[in-house]
C-alpha cells in the first residue's frame, strides 16, 4: 500500500510536525481573534461615535480584503516597516509564524466581532436596563450580564467561523510556514505519492473541522440545559 510507503519512508514524522504547526497556528490566532473581537464588540456597543466608526471601518477592512493578502501584507509589507533589529530578530526566530498568526487572527477577529455583535443584539434590552437599575456600571453590566448571554446566541456562528479559521491556517504556506499544507506539498514533491499524501492531509482537515463542529454542538447543548 502506498500509505505504508509514506510511513516507512519516515514521512509520518514530517506529517506530525506539520500538524503540530497547524494546531499551534490555529490556536494562537484563535485566541488573538477572540480577545480582539470581544473588546471590539464591547467598544462598538459602549464607545463614543468615533470609536464605533473605527470598529466599523476595522471590520469592513478585514472582511473585504482576502486573508491571503493580509498574510502577504503583514509578512512582506508591515514587517518591512519595523526597526531593523526587530526584523533580524523575527528572521532568526521563525517570524513567519508570528506574522501569519497576527494576520489570520486579526482578519478572523472581524468575523468574530460581527458574530458577537449580533449575539449582543439578540439579548433583550430589558437585561441591560435591569442590570443598570440594579447598580451595575455600563462596563460591568456588559461583562457580567450581556456578554455571557450574547455568547449563547452567537455560538453557532462562532463555531462556523472557527472552522473557517482552522482551514484558513493553510494560507500560511504562501509565506513558508511549515504547517500541514506546506509539509504535504513537500512530501508530495519528494515522493510523488500524490494520492495518499493529499488524502492524509485532507482527512486531517475534515476530521479537525468535524471535531470543532461537534465540540460546538456539545457546548450549545450544555448551555441550553443550564440556561433554559
Amino acid at each position: 500500500m502506498a500509505f505504508l510507503e509514506l510511513i516507512e519512508g519516515g514521512y509520518g514524522q514530517q506529517f506530525i510536525k506539520g500538524i503540530q504547526f497547524t494546531l499551534v497556528l490555529a490556536s494562537a490566532s484563535w485566541m488573538l481573534a477572540m480577545v480582539v473581537a470581544i473588546v471590539l464588540a464591547a467598544v462598538r456597543n459602549l464607545g463614543g461615535v468615533w470609536l464605533q466608526r473605527f470598529v466599523t471601518l476595522y471590520v469592513a477592512y478585514h472582511r473585504n480584503v482576502p486573508m491571503l493578502v493580509h498574510v502577504l501584507l503583514w509578512y512582506f509589507g508591515i514587517s518591512n516597516l519595523l526597526p531593523l533589529a526587530w526584523q533580524d530578530l523575527a528572521l532568526d526566530h521563525g517570524g513567519e509564524v508570528i506574522f501569519a498568526a497576527i494576520a489570520i487572527g486579526l482578519c478572523s477577529s472581524a468575523y468574530f466581532t460581527e458574530d458577537i455583535r449580533s449575539g449582543i443584539r439578540a439579548v433583550a434590552t430589558g437585561q441591560t436596563e435591569a442590570s443598570r437599575a440594579l447598580g451595575f456600571g455600563s462596563v460591568s453590566s456588559m461583562v457580567h450580564i450581556i456578554l455571557p448571554q450574547a455568547f449563547r446566541a452567537a455560538l453557532p456562528a462562532l463555531v462556523n467561523n472557527t472552522v473557517v479559521l482552522f482551514k484558513n491556517t493553510s494560507m500560511a504556506m504562501a509565506i513558508g510556514v511549515a504547517e500541514l499544507t506546506y509539509v504535504t506539498k513537500e512530501i508530495e514533491n519528494a515522493t510523488f505519492l500524490t494520492f495518499p499524501t493529499y488524502a492524509t492531509a485532507t482527512l486531517f482537515y475534515i476530521g479537525g473541522s468535524l471535531c470543532i463542529m461537534l465540540i460546538g454542538e456539545h457546548i450549545a447543548r450544555r448551555l441550553q440545559f443550564r440556561g433554559g
Binding site: P66, G77, A154, A157, V164, N168, M171, M173, F195
Partner: protein, 245 residues
C-alpha cells in the same frame, strides 16, 4: 505610493493584456463571475439533494457539502491540480484548475444559502401550488425556487464578494490574477513591499465593499417589498447560514 499606481496601474488592472494573456484585476473579475455562474446551478442541485427524502441522494449531497466545508480551498486546488489531468488525460492550465476548485467550493457554500431560502419559505406556498394541480417538480421550479432565490439574493451577492476574495489563491498556483500581479510588481520594484501590498489590499477593499454595499441595498429593498405582503417568509438570519469568508 501614488507614483507606483501611476506607473504600473496597467499591470494591476489588465496584466499584460494587449500583448500577452489577460491578468490582474480583470482576470480576478472574470474568474469570480465565471465561478458564480457555473456554481449557481450546481448549488441548486445540491440544495435539492440536501432536502430530498430519498436517502441515497440526501446522504450523497450532505457528504459533499460537509467534506467541502471541512477542506481548505488550498487543498481543493491541489486536488484539482492532480486529478483534473488524470480525468481529462491532458495537461490542464492553472486557470481551469483554479476555476474548477472555486466552483466546487462555492457550490457547497451557496447550496446552504439556497437551502435556507427554501426552508424559510412558508409551506403554504408549496401546498397551494400542489392543490392547484402542479406536480412536485413544477411546484419546485415555478413556485418555490423563484421566491427562495429572490429572498436570498443579498446572501448570494455577498457570497460573490467571498468568491472575489477566494480568487486570490490563484497566487499559489501562479494564475496571473490581481494578487500574482502585485507580487510580480513587488519583485520588480524590490524596495517597496509595503506600498505594493497596501495598494493590493486597498484595491480588494474597494471592489469587495462595492459588492457588499450592493448586497445591503438589495437586502433593504427586498425587506421593504416583502413588508406589504400578507405572506412574509420567516426571516433568515444572516448568521444562521454558514458562509465562507
Amino acid at each position: 505610493m501614488w507614483d507606483i499606481i501611476q506607473n504600473h496601474y496597467q499591470l494591476l488592472l489588465l496584466g499584460t493584456f494587449p500583448q500577452g494573456p489577460l491578468g490582474g484585476l480583470a482576470l480576478t473579475l472574470v474568474l469570480s463571475i465565471l465561478g458564480l455562474c457555473i456554481s449557481f446551478p450546481l448549488s441548486i442541485l445540491l440544495a435539492l439533494g440536501r432536502l430530498s427524502k430519498f436517502p441515497p441522494v440526501y446522504y450523497l449531497a450532505t457528504t459533499i457539502v460537509y467534506v467541502v466545508r471541512g477542506t481548505p480551498l488550498l487543498m481543493l486546488i491541489f486536488w484539482s491540480y492532480f486529478l483534473l489531468p488524470l480525468l481529462i488525460g491532458n495537461t490542464v492550465n492553472p486557470f481551469v484548475t483554479l476555476l474548477c476548485s472555486l466552483v466546487i467550493y462555492e457550490a457547497a457554500y451557496l447550496s446552504e444559502v439556497v437551502r435556507a431560502g427554501i426552508v424559510a419559505l412558508p409551506p403554504g406556498q408549496a401546498e397551494a401550488a400542489r392543490a392547484l394541480g402542479f406536480g412536485r417538480a413544477k411546484t419546485m421550479i415555478y413556485i418555490v425556487l423563484p421566491q427562495a432565490i429572490y429572498n436570498m439574493l443579498p446572501s448570494i451577492v455577498s457570497q460573490f464578494a467571498s468568491l472575489i476574495k477566494e480568487t486570490s489563491l490563484g497566487y499559489v498556483i501562479s494564475v496571473h490574477e490581481l494578487t500574482s500581479a502585485a507580487n510580480r510588481l513587488n519583485s520588480e520594484l524590490l524596495t517597496k513591499p509595503f506600498e505594493v501590498f497596501a495598494i493590493l489590499a486597498l484595491t480588494y477593499f474597494l471592489v469587495c465593499s462595492t459588492v457588499t454595499f450592493i448586497a445591503h441595498v438589495l437586502e433593504r429593498r427586498i425587506a421593504k417589498r416583502r413588508q406589504g405582503q400578507s405572506i412574509t417568509p420567516s426571516r433568515v438570519h444572516r448568521d444562521q447560514i454558514y458562509e465562507s469568508q
